[in-house]
C-alpha cells in the first residue's frame, strides 16, 4: 500500500474503530482522534522527502493504481504533484488543529463528531490525490455527508437550514459535472475515466464550452465565486468552529484546485474563451466580498465574507492564466487556509468565552486578554496581506501576474486589498482597543495552553510562508507551468485552425470575381 492510500485509509479506519468501540469515554475518543490525526500529519510530511523531485518535474509522484471497475475503465488511481502536495499537507495540518480547537466546545455526541471529522479528512485527502474522474467524484461527494452532519448536528441557531442549503447547493453544482464526465467519456472514446487518458483526446471546441461550464459550475460553487457564494455565509456562521476551519481552510480550495486539475486541462479552448468572464466575476467577488464584510456586525460572518473576497483573488489569478498569477493563486489558496483557519479558531475562542460573536458586544479586549489580542493582530495582518506575511506573496503575485491580462480588473481588485485592510482593522479596533465598555468582558481568561497549541503553528506558518516563500513555490511552479503550456498549445492549435479556414476559403471567391 502506498503512502497516499495510507493517508486516505487511516482516518477511515480510525472512524471505524470509533464507530464500533462503544465503551470509550469521550475523553478517550478525543485523545484517540487527535493522536491519530497528528500521526497522520507526521506521515504526510514524509511526502516532502520527494520535494526535490516535485521541484524538478511536474510528473505525478507516489502514484498508485488498482483496478476497480475495469470494464468501464475506472480505477483507483492516485498520484500527486506539487499542486496537490501542499494542499494535502494543509488538510492533515488543519484537521488536528480543528480537533484541538473544539476540544471543549463540543461536549455532546463527541464520538459522532470525531467520526465525521475523520471521514471528512479521508475524503479531502482523496480529492487531492485522485487521478481518476470517477474516484474524484466519489471523494468529492463523500465529503458532503460528514460536513452536512457537522453543521447540522453541532452547529448553532439555524444549523439545519444551513446544513441543507450547503448540501443541496454543492450537490446541485456537482450533479451536472457528473453528466459532463459521461459525455466526456463518450466523446473521447477512451473507455477510461483516467485523467491522463481523457486528456489525450482534444474535445470539439463547441462541445468544450458546455462541458467546461458544467465543470465550472461545480467548482465555482465550491470556491465560492460570486454569484454562487450565498451558501457560504450561512454554512460558516452556523457551523461549529472545526467545521468552519475545515470548510474555509481546505474545502474551498477544492474549487480552485478543480479548475487547475480538471476543468482547464480538459477544456483549454473553452477555458480560454471563458477566462475573461471568470476573471470578471473574480474581481466582482473581491470587491463585493470586501464591501459586505465591512458592514457585518457578526465577526464570523465578516470572516466568511472576507473568504469570498480572498477567493476572488484566487479566481482572478487562475483566470489570468499567466505563470505568475497561477502560482500566486495556488499560493494564496494555502495562505487563505492558514490565515482564515486561524481567524475562525480565534472567533470560536471568543464565542466560547462569551457566547456571542457580535462585534458590538466586545471592546477593549486588549486590556483583558493581551496575548489573545497580540495573536489576533498577527493573524489579521496575515489575512490582509501585509508584506512579511504569507498573504502578501500570494496577492502580489496574482495582481502582478494578472496585470497584462487586464489592467482594469487588476485595478479594481486592488481596491479589495485596501478594503480588506479597512474591514479587518476596523474590526480589530472595535473588538480589541479602547476601554472595556461591557462589564461581561472584564474578566475573560487569556489564551490557555491548548489554544496556544492550536494557534502557534498557524501563526508561525503565516510568517514562515511570508518570508521563505521560495521554499514552497518551485514545487508549485512545475505543475503550473505544465498546465499552462499544455493548455496554450491546444488554444494555439485551435486558433490556427479557425483562422486558417477563411484563408483557404477566400481564393476561390476572388477568382470568381
Amino acid at each position: 500500500m502506498g503512502l497516499l492510500s495510507i493517508l486516505i485509509l487511516t482516518p477511515l479506519a480510525g472512524a471505524l474503530i470509533l464507530a464500533v468501540s462503544r465503551g470509550m469515554s469521550d475523553e478517550t475518543v478525543k485523545r484517540f482522534s487527535l493522536a491519530l490525526t497528528l500521526v497522520l500529519f507526521g506521515v504526510s510530511l514524509a511526502l516532502l522527502t520527494e520535494l526535490p523531485g516535485f521541484e524538478s518535474s511536474a510528473d505525478y509522484r507516489f502514484t498508485e493504481e488498482l483496478k476497480w471497475l475495469p470494464d468501464w475503465g475506472i480505477g483507483y488511481r492516485l498520484g500527486i504533484d506539487g499542486l496537490s502536495l501542499w494542499l494535502i499537507i494543509l488538510s492533515t495540518l488543519l484537521t488536528p488543529i480543528s480537533l484541538l480547537g473544539s476540544w471543549t466546545s463540543i461536549d455532546s455526541r463527541v464520538r459522532e463528531f470525531n467520526i465525521f471529522i475523520l471521514i471528512l479528512e479521508s475524503a479531502m485527502i482523496g480529492v487531492f490525490c485522485a487521478l481518476d474522474l470517477f474516484l474524484f467524484y466519489v471523494f468529492w461527494e463523500a465529503m458532503l455527508i460528514p460536513m452536512y452532519f457537522l453543521i447540522g448536528i453541532f452547529g448553532h441557531g439555524r444549523r439545519i437550514y444551513a446544513a441543507v442549503k450547503f448540501f443541496l447547493y454543492t450537490m446541485a453544482g456537482s450533479a451536472l459535472m457528473l453528466v459532463a464526465f459521461l459525455v466526456l467519456y463518450r466523446e473521447t472514446g477512451a473507455q477510461s475515466f483516467a485523467l491522463e487518458d481523457l486528456m489525450k483526446t482534444p474535445i470539439d471546441p463547441s462541445l468544450q464550452m458546455w462541458l467546461f461550464l458544467a465543470f465550472a459550475l461545480a467548482f465555482a460553487i465550491k470556491v465560492p465565486m460570486f454569484p454562487f457564494h450565498t451558501w457560504l455565509p450561512d454554512a460558516h456562521v452556523e457551523a461549529p468552529t472545526a467545521g468552519s476551519v475545515i470548510l474555509a481552510g481546505v474545502m474551498l480550495k477544492m474549487g480552485g484546485y478543480g479548475f487547475l486539475r480538471l476543468a482547464i486541462p480538459l477544456f483549454p479552448v473553452a477555458a480560454d474563451q471563458a477566462a475573461w468572464g471568470i476573471a470578471f466575476l473574480g474581481a466582482i467577488g473581491i470587491v463585493y466580498g470586501a464591501l459586505v464584510s465591512l458592514v457585518q456586525p457578526d465577526m464570523k460572518k465578516l470572516v466568511a465574507y472576507s473568504s469570498v473576497s480572498h477567493l476572488g483573488f484566487v479566481m482572478l489569478g487562475i483566470a489570468a492564466f499567466s505563470p505568475m498569477s497561477v502560482v500566486g493563486a495556488s499560493y494564496q489558496m494555502l495562505n487563505h487556509g492558514i490565515s482564515t483557519g486561524a481567524l475562525f479558531l480565534m472567533v470560536g475562542m471568543l464565542y466560547e468565552r462569551r457566547h456571542t460573536r457580535l462585534i458590538a458586544e466586545f471592546g477593549g479586549l486588549r486590556n483583558v486578554m493581551p496575548r489573545f489580542a497580540a495573536v489576533f493582530l498577527l493573524v489579521c495582518l496575515s489575512s490582509i496581506a501585509v508584506p512579511g506575511f504569507n498573504g502578501f506573496i500570494g496577492e502580489f503575485l496574482i495582481l502582478v501576474g494578472a496585470f497584462s491580462f487586464s489592467p482594469g480588473l487588476v485595478m479594481v481588485s486592488t481596491l479589495g486589498v485596501i478594503l480588506s485592510a479597512a474591514y479587518i482593522l476596523w474590526m480589530v479596533q472595535r473588538v480589541m482597543y479602547g476601554e472595556v465598555t461591557n462589564p461581561k468582558n472584564a474578566n475573560l481568561p487569556d489564551l490557555n495552553p491548548r489554544e496556544w497549541a492550536t494557534l502557534l503553528p498557524l501563526v508561525f506558518l503565516s510568517l514562515f510562508m511570508g518570508v521563505f516563500s521560495s521554499w514552497f513555490t518551485p514545487s508549485i511552479e512545475k505543475p503550473v507551468l505544465k498546465i499552462i503550456r499544455d493548455a496554450r498549445v491546444q488554444v494555439t492549435v485551435h486558433q490556427m485552425r479557425t483562422r486558417a479556414l477563411p484563408r483557404v476559403a477566400t481564393p476561390p471567391a476572388e477568382e470568381s470575381r
Binding site: I145, A175, L176, L178, L182, Y185
Partner: protein, 480 residues
C-alpha cells in the same frame, strides 16, 4: 406422453405448491403465523436453490425462455420475496391479517413475477402479469376491516385492469403487425415500423408504464402505497418493479429494439416527466409511505432511462443499457425494501410511524437503526459510496452513450431534488429531538437483521459492485 422438460418452470411449480400448502395448512390444520412463514420461505428458498444449482435453458415450446437472464431476475425476485416474508411475519398479527391467506397470495404473486422473468411470448407474458397482479389486488385489500385498505385494493384493481386492457390491445396490434405472439418472430414482423406495429408498441408501453407507476400513469401509486399495510407495500414496491422491468426489458431487447428510433424519444420524455413528477411530488409529502411512493415513481423514471438507453445502434451498448437497468432494479428493490423495513421495525408509542416527523429523534434512541436508514437513504439519493450511485451512474452512462444527455441531466438534477426530501428524514432523526415521553420500541427478531442485510449490501455493493455487475452483464448479454 409428450416429452416436456419442466425444469425451466420448476421454480414456479415449487412456489405454487408452497402457496397451496400454506393455504391448506392454514385452513385445515390451523397452521399459525410461524408455520406459514416457515413453509412459505422454504418454498421460496427451494425455488432459489433450483435456479442456482439446476439452471435450465429450456423454452417449453417457445412460450418461455429460461436462461441467464431469467435466472438473474428470478434470483433477485426470490431474495426480495424471502426478505418480504420475514418482514411481513413480524407484523401480521398486529395488522389482524390471516397469515395463511396472506402468505399464500404472496407466493402466488411471486409465481407471476417468476413467469414475467421468463416470458418469451406475449400471451404467457400477459398471463404471468395477471397472476402477479390479481394476487396483489387481494393483498392490498387486506385486512378486510380497514376502509383505507379497501380503497387501496379497489383503486389498484381498477387501474390495474385498465392498464391490462391497454397491454392486451398492444399485444393484439403487434400480433396483427407480425402474425405471431412469440417475441423473436414478432421482432421480424415489426422491424419495418408499420403504423400497426407502432401503435401496438405504444399501447404496450402504456400498459407497462401503468404497472411500474410512471408518470402520467402513476396516480394510483401513492394512494395504494399508503392504503395497503406496510408489509404489502414493501413487497409490492420491490417485487413488481423487478418483474415488470425485467419483462419490459426483454420485450424491448428482443422484439422492439429495431423500432427504437420511433418510440425512444417519446419514452425518454416519459422518463424525464416521471423523474420530475416523482421527485417534486415527494417534496410535498408528510406521510412516510406516500413519500416512499413518490420516491418510487421517481426511481421508475431513472429505470425507464435504462430502456431509453437501448435506443443505440451498437448492440453492445444496448446490452450495457439493459445491464444497467437490471443492476439498478435489483439493487433498488433491496434498498427500498430495507427502507420500508424500518417502518416495520419501529414502534413509536406502540404504533407504526406514519408521518415523517414520527422519526424525530430516532438517532439518539436507536442509533443503529438510524444509521442503517441513513445509509439506505443515501443510496436512494444516489450519493457515493453506495450502490444507488453506481446504479445511477451506470444508467445515465448508457443514456448519454445513446445521445440522451438531456435525460441524464434531468436525472441528476432531480437526484439533487430527491436529496432534499431524503435528507429531511436524516435531519429529523439526527438533528431534532423527540417530543417528551416519546417511546421507541424496536421489533424484536429478524426485522433488524433484514434491514442490516439490505444496508450492508447497499454499502458493500457501492464499494465493490464488480461481481454483481458481471452477473447483470452476463444476463443482459444473453438476450442479444
Amino acid at each position: 406422453m409428450m416429452d416436456i422438460d419442466l425444469l425451466p418452470v420448476l421454480p414456479s411449480i415449487i412456489v405454487s405448491l408452497a402457496g397451496i400448502v400454506v393455504l391448506l395448512a392454514g385452513a385445515f390444520a390451523g397452521a399459525g403465523l410461524a408455520a406459514c412463514r416457515n413453509l412459505g420461505s422454504a418454498g421460496l428458498l427451494g425455488a432459489l436453490l433450483v435456479i442456482m444449482f439446476a439452471p435450465s435453458d429450456g423454452n417449453l415450446g417457445g412460450a418461455i425462455m429460461a436462461g441467464v437472464y431469467s435466472a438473474f431476475v428470478q434470483v433477485s425476485i426470490l431474495v426480495v420475496a424471502i426478505m418480504a416474508v420475514w418482514l411481513a411475519a413480524a407484523r401480521l398479527d398486529d395488522d389482524e391479517v390471516n397469515p395463511h391467506e396472506f402468505f399464500a397470495l404472496m407466493l402466488f404473486s411471486v409465481v407471476g413475477m417468476l413467469g414475467l422473468a421468463t416470458a418469451a411470448e406475449a400471451i404467457s407474458l400477459f398471463v404471468a402479469l395477471e397472476i402477479m397482479s390479481v394476487a396483489l389486488y387481494a393483498m392490498c385489500a387486506m385486512p378486510r376491516t380497514g376502509p383505507e385498505r379497501q380503497e387501496a385494493g379497489i383503486k389498484y384493481f381498477i387501474t390495474g385492469a385498465f392498464s391490462s386492457a391497454f397491454l392486451l390491445f398492444g399485444i393484439a396490434l403487434l400480433y396483427g403487425a407480425s402474425g405471431s405472439t412469440t417475441l423473436a418472430v414478432m421482432a421480424r414482423g415489426v422491424s419495418e415500423g408499420s403504423l400497426l406495429a407502432l401503435m401496438g408498441a405504444a399501447f404496450f408501453f402504456v400498459g407497462f408504464l401503468f404497472k411500474v407507476g410512471a408518470a402520467p400513469f402513476h396516480m394510483w401509486s401513492p394512494d395504494v402505497y399508503q392504503g395497503a399495510i406496510t408489509s404489502v407495500t414493501a413487497f409490492m414496491a420491490a417485487g413488481v418493479k423487478i418483474a415488470a422491468f425485467a419483462a419490459l426489458g426483454r420485450v424491448v431487447a428482443i422484439a422492439l429494439g429495431d423500432l427504437s428510433g420511433s418510440w425512444a424519444p417519446a419514452v425518454a420524455l416519459v422518463a424525464a416527466f416521471t423523474m420530475v413528477v416523482g421527485n417534486l411530488g415527494a417534496l410535498a409529502q408528510t406521510d412516510l409511505k406516500r413519500l416512499l411512493a413518490y420516491s418510487s415513481v421517481a426511481h421508475a423514471g431513472y429505470m425507464i432511462a435504462g430502456i431509453v438507453g437501448m435506443d443505440n445502434v451498437s448492440v453492445t451498448a444496448r446490452a450495457q443499457s439493459l445491464e444497467a437497468l437490471l443492476f439498478y432494479v435489483a439493487t433498488y428493490a433491496i434498498t427500498n425494501l430495507g427502507a420500508f423495513g424500518i417502518l416495520i421495525a419501529i414502534r413509536r408509542n406502540g404504533a407504526e410511524p406514519r408521518v415523517t416527523t414520527d422519526l424525530r429523534g430516532l438517532a439518539s434512541r436507536n442509533p443503529i437503526l438510524a444509521a442503517m436508514l441513513t445509509l439506505l437513504l443515501i443510496s436512494l439519493t444516489g450519493i457515493p459510496v453506495s450502490v444507488g450511485f453506481v446504479g445511477k451512474f451506470h444508467l445515465f452512462k448508457a443514456a448519454v452513450a445513446a445521445d440522451y444527455s438531456g435525460l441524464a441531466a434531468v436525472g441528476v438534477l432531480m437526484s439533487v431534488v430527491s436529496a432534499y426530501y431524503y435528507l429531511r428524514l436524516v435531519v429529523l432523526m439526527y438533528m431534532e429531538d423527540a417530543e417528551e415521553g416519546t417511546e421507541f420500541r424496536t421489533e424484536p427478531g429478524f426485522v433488524p437483521s433484514i434491514i442490516a442485510f439490505a444496508a450492508a449490501l447497499t454499502f458493500g455493493l457501492g464499494l465493490f459492485p464488480a461481481p454483481l455487475l458481471a452477473l447483470a452483464r452476463a444476463a443482459a448479454a444473453s438476450l442479444f
